[in-house]
Amino acid sequence: MSKKSEENNISRRKYLQIAGGTVAGLVVGGALGYVAKPEVTVPPTTVTSTVTETVTGTVTAPPTTVAMDTGQIAVEAAKKFAGTHIGYVVESGFDEGCCKAFAEEWNKLTGMNVEIIAQPTFGVREKVITEGMAKTGAVDLVNTFPIWYPDFIAGKYIVPLNQYIDKYQPDMSDVIFKDYFTASTWQPGVTWALPIDGDVFMLYYRKDIFEHPDERKAFKEQYGYDLAPPETWQQYTQIAKFLTRKPGEKLMGQPVAAQFGGQIEFRSKGGVFWWFFNRIGAYGGRYFNKTANNIDPAINSPACIQALKDMIECTPYGIPEAAAVAYAETIGGMEAGSGAMNIFWPMFGPHCQYAPGSKVVDKIGYALMPGVKQQDGSILHRAIMAAGKVINLTSDSRNPEAAYLFAQWITSPAVHQRCVMWATPTALGALNPVRRREFDPAPWAQEYNTTSDPYNVRAGNPTPWPGAVDYVKADEVNLKVGLPDILVPGWAEFQESIDTELSNAVTGKKTAENALNDCHDQWVKFIDKYGKANIMQWYLPEMYEPGYLKW
């Protein structure tokens, strides 16, 4: 009996303690919040609807008579920083392999100590913010996706590079979409980054299947036109349907042991939104509708709904559990020979060619993204420029100038040309062309049509890659019709919302309309949360029109 009252006493005491703790916490928290609140500053911006070609500083003629490559200039200038430690955050995997190798080369040339800090893709942003908040100085450089610009700039985690660009004059003359990559579009005259990677989705297909006489004959009979890389999304679905084979059915004259997929695109939650955005451009869909005073999500427009419906329609024409295909399965499946068509980043090209055990060596063709037939009979092609990377300098870097010099070197023409051709066993195609001259097929032919390695970019891979020239040509045509990623503050929540709803639609839980309408409603809430003015300032509708970005 007494024990029970003792227990009651104790629980009462505990409740009092908890209540007291809460009150104390409120008081402490309020005080902390009051003290910790920094000044609220809005980054300086001007809302422009026309882009002016920015001129970064005055050009002074170099004192020497022989013009030095801007990369070499960086090397010379960096020698005085020998011994400095620089932390460089990159995406783990391919970027890591390539950047590590070049960092080592730089360390040998200059005596500096650039260290690669690898993070999984969506952990890069957290790393920068975590270290930036604690002002540790551990991260100096970072490979950023432009979609993080609004967050990084608002939180002041990165700094503009103008002072260093004026001093060291990097060669940015032939960078494609320069103002987009450097964020000068939003703040003319300010250069926030040096571009290092031009990502875009490309269409990959099994050349050997498309050229096989039996398949060509059967397809022509059934559909009335020749079997070729699809020009419209409708043809894409038809070809996918035609080329899907159940176990036992014949493909290229041989029965298949397991289901063969006409297409094995990524469809799983955790990235499917990019594959959806890849389609909406051609249908005329947009991310937002912006008027003078308002901004409203446009991802549930009829165009977008149609794009999603077509995407859902072609999903079953793949391998089993097509709606769960994620990165490993889409890459691994293609290389194991389970798919006929795929849509992925440019790194897929070298990867299919050089991955250990790849069964599709010399069998992959590269093509322009399918499009949608317009009223006037022409076909509008758009391909999403998913991610795309730039190299930023963090605000809490202790050695900004030394870090900048490394960035200038790795993005300089000669060095970067080697970066984009990199295809070693662990870094099978890392960074992608971002300068006009890097689409010139000549270096690619020189490097990949031989078993020697003139550019020193594929140690241990003597196998030639005859398709390399077609690959870089396809990269170019897809970039030319590129649709940029959305840049808005708080993008992470928008992304999670559409990713979830798309996953619901693809697995059949919701219809396409319902999924996109639900997403629209959620996006409206996020616009309120992150500030309508803020979002309107970052979203420039003209940027997403075809042909707007300067090549």
Partner: protein
């Protein structure tokens, strides 16, 4: 009657044997899959229909794994796990005994200790990271080991407490009468008798430290200092690196070996505890 009991005994043994075999198969089959995946080449992992036997020798995956410098990550895992386990078991045994025998802290203390484990670690990360970076404990072995000690103490204390409470008090009291003193009774009687429990606690705590992922990811910075779980995540997850399942599996195999060795080595103390119990009567 005698023959029927013999038959039922055989039948019973057979059923037990079959049941154990089924469980063993269920336990071991995924491990078998890890092993063969480690020895396949990168693309063969995704072959359809699946390969039930590796198609290449494992030297390739092993070579690639070693090339990533994973030996440093093993070292890091060892240092952090062993030191935090020792600290936890030491402090935990003391605390558990005090609570079990001396009712230290009354009813409140054990509940408070357990409640420390209830908040999801994710909620703690931000303040702990800020604290640690101020104290310059980030990217150090001692920082992470200290964090692990704090995390695993609650479970260790409760496990020890429960095991100590199981022991009859008479043995310790008679030892005290013989002039052992409180601590002597603790060290010479209670600890050995609770050996199975201590063994289970050691294994559990070591595994928790060895496998912990979130804080290792946040509190370590340089690649050489990462313990094994974040390495696994960073190197084998995501769009550009999520394909090398064979190397990841090889790393999984190597990572399980120390823990397996530890548990096999300690198993005999589990058995010794059994005989202690038998002698007691």
């Amino acid at each position: 009657m005698k023959s029927s009991t013999r038959i039922t005994r055989h039948a019973k043994n057979a059923i037990i044997g079959i049941a154990l075999a089924v469980f063993l198969l269920w336990t071991v089959f995924p491990l078998y899959w890890v092993v063969i995946t480690a020895f396949k080449d990168q693309t063969a992992v995704f072959q359809s229909p699946p390969l039930w036997w590796p198609n290449t020798d494992g030297v390739i995956a092993f070579g690639q794994l070693m090339a990533t410098g994973v030996i440093y990550n093993f070292q890091s895992s060892f240092i952090v796990s062993i030191s935090s386990t020792l600290a936890v078991v030491f402090i935990g045994a003391l605390t558990g005994y005090a609570i079990a025998r001396f009712k230290a802290g009354g009813n409140f203390l054990p509940l408070w200790i357990l409640s420390q484990r209830m908040l999801p670690p994710i909620a703690f990360i931000v303040p702990i990271f800020l604290m640690f970076s101020t104290l310059e404990l980030v990217d150090t072995y001692q920082g992470l080991a200290y964090a692990y000690t704090a995390f695993n103490l609650p479970y260790a204390v409760w496990m020890m407490k429960t095991f100590f409470e199981e022991l009859p008090v008479e043995m310790e009291e008679s030892a005290e009468v013989d002039g052992c003193g409180k601590l002597g009774a603790f060290a010479r009687i209670a600890l050995p008798l609770a050996a199975p429990g201590i063994v289970a606690t050691v294994i559990f705590v070591f595994i928790m430290a060895w496998n912990e992922f979130l804080f290792a990811l946040v509190l370590m910075r340089s690649v050489k200092m990462f313990t094994l779980p974040p390495t696994e995540y960073i190197f084998y997850y995501g769009p550009t690196s999520g394909v090398r399942y064979n190397v990841a599996s090889m790393q999984a195999l190597l990572a399980i070996l120390p823990v397996l060795a530890l548990s096999v080595y300690i198993q005999k103390y589990l058995v010794r505890g059994l005989t202690f119990g038998a002698v007691k009567g």
